[in-house]
């Protein structure tokens, strides 16, 4: 009989192998599912994972999806490390898009150089405000951060709908719930003419490198790591929980806000009701898959963006519902949590374990 034995030290190898194993198991699960649905599993897997990277246009579209995923996931990684259960990236992203659009619409007929910076700043600040309210409620009134951030996601969605149906609607838009199309001066420059990828993705990568640096080298990063590992020790060391909470939450809000404004000032080019296909929720999985580390998020956001892009392709080519992407994300997180068991435990044969202990 195989036995489960606790490890003396958490396994470094399993920490990094677990995401890969989880992805592998998810792909097996997906292949079985597609076979059951009479879809060719090899073709489906090719569309989901290989095709998104096969030509310049697809890679560009993949990068468009990677930007917001990465930005949100980097912020969430720091939050979760500090034991702050911020589920509000989706709402902060939507409000970032709303605030950014309100600013961009001031420059519809203008081409001044400061239009784009102001739009981005408006988006970032809007995201920070949306993160600040639940943070304040947590610190002042001890309210549950998970539930308040979730509620703020729903409130943000309706606020966005209100904006796009009301004050921000294009007066010459024949009543469609859309804002006016932004001026070129408020659009993020494209990386190349071959697609919609814009310099927002460069910002996202630079910010994840910055976050990795902060986490590894700064005093703030040290505090985040200590709070995540042992809250009592952090308090004993005199670290200020309130300050840290503000810093991490506002940073996450700023990144999610930037993600939102980069969507409206990037590939979309105006404010519409459907800004995000749930990037803020997917970013939770990206953060976990990336081991709550900004550099890990860089890899896992790439994978998740490929999956999103592949989902689009599989829908067009094989008629597989796009919802399959959401389901795969859930399965992936299940497998990841299950594989993480082996970071702290190992399987042994009873006869061996007697000698080793």
């Amino acid at each position: 009989m195989i036995q489960v034995t606790p490890r003396i030290e958490p396994s470094k190898l399993m920490t990094f192998a677990s995401p890969l194993l989880a992805i592998f198991l998810t792909l097996i699960f997906g292949s079985i599912l597609f076979s059951l649905l009479d879809k060719d599993p090899l073709e489906a897997m090719h569309l989901l994972l290989i095709a998104p990277l096969s030509d310049a246009y697809n890679i560009s579209e993949m990068l468009v999806k990677m930007g917001p995923l990465l930005l949100c996931a980097v912020g969430l990684s720091l939050c979760y490390r500090a034991n702050l259960w911020n589920i509000g990236a989706e709402g902060q992203l939507l409000i970032g898009a709303l605030g950014g659009s309100a600013m961009a619409l001031q420059f519809v007929d203008s081409d001044v150089w400061y239009a784009l910076p102001l739009t981005l700043v408006a988006g970032i600040i809007s995201g920070m405000i949306w993160a600040a309210i639940p943070t304040l409620l947590k610190l002042k009134f001890n309210s549950n951060l998970i539930l308040t951030t979730i509620m703020f996601n729903y409130i943000a969605l309706y606020l966005l709908l209100w904006g796009v149906h009301g004050p921000l609607r294009d007066p010459e838009g024949f009543g469609f719930p859309e804002s006016a199309i932004f001026s070129d001066a408020t659009l993020l420059p494209l990386l190349s003419e071959d697609g919609r990828a814009h310099i927002g993705i460069i910002f996202a990568i630079l910010l994840s490198l910055f976050a990795a640096f902060v986490l590894a080298k700064s005093h703030l990063g040290f505090q985040i790591r200590v709070f995540g590992a042992d809250e009592a020790a952090a308090k004993y060391a005199g670290f200020n929980r309130t300050k840290l909470t503000w810093a991490v939450m506002l940073f996450a809000g700023a990144l999610a806000g930037l993600a939102g404004v980069s969507e409206v000032a990037g590939p979309i080019g105006q404010l519409v009701p459907g800004i995000s296909p749930g990037y803020g929720y997917s970013a939770i999985i990206v953060a976990y898959l990336g081991r709550l580390h900004p550099l890990g998020a860089l890899l896992s956001a790439t994978f998740m963006a490929v999956l999103y892009m592949g989902g689009d392709l599989a829908q067009i080519e094989m008629g597989i519902p796009i919802a399959v992407v959401g389901m795969f994300q859930g399965v992936l997180l299940f497998f990841l949590l299950a594989c993480d068991f082996f970071i702290h435990y190992r399987l042994t044969l009873p006869s061996n374990s007697q000698y080793q202990n």
């Binding site: 489960v4 606790p6 259960w85 589920i87 409620l137 009134f141 001890n142 309210s143 549950n144 998970i146 539930l147 308040t148 979730i150 509620m151 703020f152 729903y154 409130i155 309706y158 606020l159 709908l161 209100w162 149906h165 009301g166 929720y281 997917s282 939770i284 999985i285 976990y288 519902p321 919802a323 399959v324 992407v325 959401g326 389901m327 795969f328 994300q329 859930g330 399965v331 997180l333 299940f334 949590l337 299950a338 993480d340 068991f341 702290h344």
Partner: protein
Amino acid sequence: MDIDFITQILFAAIKTGTPLLLIALGEVICEKSGVLNLGQEGMMLMGAVVGFLAAYTTGSAGFGIIGAILMGMIMSLIFAFLVLHLGANQVATGLALTIFGTGLSAFVGADVVGQTVQGFQPIIIPLLSDIPIVGKILFTHDLLVYLSFALAGLVAYVANHTRTGLVLKAVGENPNAANAIGIRVLRVRYCAIMFGGAMAGLSGAYMSLVYTPMWVENMSSGRGWIALALVVFASWRVGNIMLGAYLFGLASIMHLVLQGMGWSISPNLLAMLPYVATVFVMVIISADQFKEKLLAPKSLGKPFDPRQMA
């Protein structure tokens, strides 16, 4: 506002509060055993879609209910296995369950979006429904609303007046002590989590078979999350949950009330009301830290690992 209008509002508040009541009754039992399952939304959506599919294919709403309950239990078993056996983080696993359920329900329900089924017809209870006002509000509903009344009574009775309730409380308050006196902690938690799953599934079926009755992606629109807040609001007491569910039901139909009173506010702003109300209530409830610590099950969210007991 005349009396008929108020009667209609209160009738609608009960109808709207019922899915919240059902799901919160399951979650409170789960939390009393010390397990926080954030997967309510996912289980509810799976219950809704499977219930709808079962009723759609068999033509019987009864099969829909059974299917939804079973589906909720299966979903909760995935969660239970991960958090109880593999010691996975309850918050992360619950989120995974919600993301998985949202995606899977949209996937399997893609073909029946926009279809309708024959749901439950209202059952007017003789005599009781003749009571002025109250009779109209309480006794002219469908079968599932009456079932939710009965379930609330049953859960309150079991939790407060039976040995099962005591065992549940012991496990939630101090799993180590419960284990020491021979209670199988993990088994109790499995049962509590599965009860939560069954109730979430039933609540989903209420949405797709009675309330709308049809299947739409994401049709629970945050009710699973509101139910979690409701449990905190109710201080983990079943009686309060019933009151809270109907108050939230009232908040959700406030836009109809205000329209009826002749106000004109953007429907999108009014749609925020239940969520704003949830935040507002949570702030008021949680502000008293001491009280919340006193009322919440002591081991809530903390794993129990019998392997480390020996």
